[in-house]
Symmetry: D2
Subunit: 372 residues, 4 copies
């Protein structure tokens, strides 16, 4: 069969369309729906791209990319014009030679096999379209969404909650994420736990293996009323966004899977008055009830599977020869995906929330200064 | 603020639009995208509606509804015509009197508060639009999707894996779900575990409390190649669909949250030849890699929170008086939502898969018999 | 081939999904995106449905339908709730017997032939899904859109500009449409021209033939800034909406086809100051420049083809016998479609404008009175 | 007000998103939905871009652009992969200086005024986003759509039917369009008429004025059954696509506005058997009945308004000074838009038809040669 290609558009009023393959000329995104008048500079985007860039620590792969963003459209005299923003990053460090071996031998745990079955003709170099490099477009668009959100008082925070079996068992304060997460390679909010995570991750990596973990993202300052009933619930859109990130296999809102063992009397967040405002005493719901934000922080957790690329020998099938074989992947890989998933998950949360803010008509461009 | 209403449309080529409130004249759905020529009778839909109907056992609420479906359009001489199917169920057992007390006092854990904040003017009777009664439309549309899937050899199975802390700890075979799940009130695939679940559920209910649990749905016979890269991944669409069900707070694919503690060498499903066909030796991925089906069973788990309606007194705020108060809900409620979520989750999985089958052009109407 | 059915959804933020066949149980629409708090009664909708109802004059077909609308959802205590409105009209006067002859002999000029080729299995009674009866849903939804627009000071006017070769050659004032169009069977703004139209229409009808014409719709009070660049231009959406009405074969904006013979110096509307406001001296552009409203009246003209159903004998093919034959349609038909297209075209214009108003965030629900 | 930007996405299964401004770094398009395996080279796209390029004859503006396309993604070893194609053209000949005068003085007939009212902050250089340069993306994407269509036996033809009051009054054969239209600057299918058109166009231009005209596009070989009922009718999508082209003010299908003066007995295309195939004796309907293709050629006509840029003095308002003024545009402009609209209209027709072919599942990639 020859497969048809759709699926690269996300959002309703703030829409992104990503493009690009790991070893093609470029990766990028077109983002439409950004109101006119938002101050924006390449460095706003570059800052976020630098966070997702590989090769920055022992726990990320060593592919060298500068990942310089170019804004091809939608910007005029330092402000958006309401026209689509095309953000492009040229591929530089691509070296397809190490992938020659996987051209006919799909890697276990990767998209190689279903892509071959679906499309027939596949750009197999470095995973092609299914490569994590596609997230460059997400992070670039997410940076613009963060700017929009920030002008409405919404802040996005992300960190690694668990990696390689090491978890921050206690409650993490927002402040800790802000202060610590970007200061260690694991992006963990607790520096001490970060050290143990890194040890375990590297220990597995030395044995040619990889590890999984849990990433948490939060949104603070989200006004009540975002999200729509039934199918376009805010948590449904968030779950969609998060599960679309490669390697994510579970999405939880608020207490998530812990709700299974709770009683209703524990699970319900009772409603109280605080300084004349109606709010919730606790936030087990993770900021969303009936699919609509209630004004408390939005809390989302993602389970990230172990990096599928490992050096240990793995069984697979040689498609040309039609026989089973053993694959030993060369090169070095991200031993744990969590630190690099953090900025991507933040970007996706920002895109969903900015879209719903725009849909709700609550964006306040007056805060941007100037007429717009 | 006066809220705007969107969000009731789901799907791309097979699209559903649900409508109706708990205590309005009717609930229902318009379903478009069903190809012409599919044999369909009201009883195909009625069978599924009967499964979600309340009042059938000690573990479901006693609201009495016949829930008879009427097909208003899209059917001619026993077959679909390609035109939209409008499926309507008239509300009969509605008794809004018991809800008078919650008109100005939002129930904790329910959508009452965010709806009031978002819309200002709300049909507060029985949860209105946010009521579980909205799922009548989902289940009716899902019944048609199941007919479509069945003509392609795809089977959907659902069961309660855990409730009130009681879990089927061992591997559950497909056969057990088919044989046992519909034969006990908990819809559990293991009759012995079902009994213990029911005990725990009823024990909590007698104390005025409710319990949560885990529902699992599977799809067998799904061909490889369904799903689209990047944002329209099959698992992203499934996560969206499942998280849009009221009470669902976590969605897992395959091993789900267990991936966090695995090594890559455990997590990867190696690729093998079986009878000349390329397949996976294990199915930890839950049938989906890179967002695209690989041909193994699709496995999804949902965490269902405890029913938010409980008889125990709960703090809330009286919006008219602007003061805190205590709410004691009268009446009887579903003590555990899992058994009733099972057919809804099956319907949502069926809708997503039928949509992707139609998108992929793989539907085979020749199996339907007759010219179409 | 067995056709797949899509195409019944229209709009982006204000979305309608129509359903129903000419001789099925009912026709109707689900409308979502209406903000909460809009006062609405069945009579608001009934008034518009009564305008499109057949059997009211010598120039419309005599099928007797009361066309009583029922609101199944989305309304509570006389105001919308933001939830989808399901509006249903039961089919009563359906008499399929007269259509038996066309079951295997497609009528020239109708959708019979392409539907048979596309779907294989078709509800052939009275045109089924392709019947003009489908417009009941459009007019019902349009009535709600008109209510929304009216609260923003937007008025929709429609009239028959030309029928059976008789045309209002002079400029028609808005006032004339308001005062005269609903007072004659042709819905013509000039009573004298209306009489001549009617004569010509009936004269052709007596010979067993039908006639075409031109319908004009206008929107007054549309604020500047509606419409989006490139593909979602306001005039592109209007053209889409109008061309989707059965029998419409041309759509013109402003001077329309007359622009072909103009010079730029005649065609351009120069920009002037009037009472301190920037506006256009003339309105040849029909209220839209670059796809975006400029604040002057929006003017749209539709060419309506002659009713395809005529009594004169016509060649066709008997599909069962596989041979050419001659079809003589019995019964009486609309001798000219223009008067009945007028309320449908108004409805479609209202839906497009209300959608763009909602997209632009310019709706002002404070005018509705009450909190929402 | 600060406007929000949407509207740059078109299509359902074959989706384009254009980006770029007249004087920004680049213009282009991302196209998704192209099946894997389609042979494609930059020259396939370049050929069409060269047709729309300015500066090629006395009747087009002299801006010098090489308009070299770069394919940034979606192509591997000379074939599409099913991933989005990003097609970029760098802006080279941009000279914004001549536009300085229009920064605060909106040009009559242009989008300047509504853009300023909608967005506040506008890239005014050369029309920015509303410039005809945006059509580079449409033509590039259309070239890919033509390749798809061509593999299904569908051919797209376009020509100028009328310009500056000079019209090809007789029936134009397909063959004439193929042979003659690209051989004269007016893109007219009749060389003799072309000469008279050019004379009239240049005569008006010499007086500082511009002229309008009519462009016709046809699609041959379109299979029956494309298009969907009600709102997604093939002619509705075509009308949308065509009216979205700058300068187009009327869209006609088949006999178009001439239907207004026809009788039903003239307007209906009777149904006949030809060589055992059911077809129409005439093609007044322009290949579409009930919104669905019938297998005869699709015929569409567009009225193109005179180029709004003229050298003659025109009244406008100086927005900074808040007073009326007179604008005299310098530079040379396209004296008639028709020749340059031809390839754009062809591209839009190709995009609509390819989208519907993909939606219908009728594409036959086996014709592409190779496995896919």
């Amino acid at each position: 069969m020859v497969g048809e290609g759709v699926g690269s558009v996300f959002g309703r009023k703030l829409r992104v369309m990503t493009f690009g393959e790991s070893h093609g000329p470029a990766v990028g995104v077109v983002l439409e729906g950004v109101p006119a008048g938002l101050p924006l500079a390449e460095q706003d985007i570059q800052r976020e791209l630098d966070r997702r860039r590989p090769g920055q620590s022992p726990v990320s792969s060593p592919r060298v990319e500068r990942d310089r963003v170019e804004i091809l459209s939608g910007l005029f005299e330092g402000k958006t014009t309401g026209a689509p923003l095309c953000l492009v990053v040229w591929n530089e460090g691509a070296d397809p030679s190490s992938y020659e071996q996987v051209r006919t031998r799909p890697r276990p745990g990767h998209a190689d096999l279903p892509y071959l079955l679906k499309y027939g003709h596949v750009d197999w170099r470095g995973g092609g379209r299914s490569s994590g490099r596609e997230t460059v477009g997400r992070v670039a668009a997410g940076a613009v969404a963060k700017k929009l959100l920030s002008s409405c008082g919404v802040e996005i925070l992300g960190h690694t909650l668990e990696a390689a079996g090491v978890r921050v068992e206690r409650e993490v304060e927002d402040r800790e994420i802000r202060e610590n997460a970007e200061r260690n390679p694991m992006r963990c909010a607790d520096p001490e736990v970060a050290r143990r995570m890194e040890e375990e991750v590297l220990s597995a990596a030395r044995r040619g293996d990889s590890t999984g973990g849990v990433v948490e993202v939060r949104a603070l300052g989200v006004p009540p009323g975002l999200g729509d009933p039934v199918f376009d619930k805010l948590d449904a859109d968030i779950a969609h966004a998060m599960m679309s990130i490669g390697g994510v296999k579970a999405v939880e809102i608020g207490e998530g899977t812990r709700f299974a063992r709770m009683r209703g009397s524990e699970a319900n967040d009772v409603i109280v008055l605080r300084d004349g405002r109606i709010t919730l005493l606790t936030n087990r719901c993770g900021g969303i009830l009936g699919g609509i934000s209630v004004g408390t922080p939005i809390v989302v957790r993602l389970t990230v599977k172990p990096t599928p690329s490992i050096s240990l020998p793995q069984r697979t099938v040689d498609l040309e020869r039609g026989e089973e074989t053993v694959l030993e992947l060369r090169g070095r890989f991200d031993p744990n995906l969590c630190p690099r998933v953090v900025p991507v998950a933040e970007a996706m949360l920002a895109l969903v929330l900015a879209d719903h803010l725009l849909l709700s008509g609550r964006l306040n461009p007056d805060r941007w200064g100037g007429k717009g």
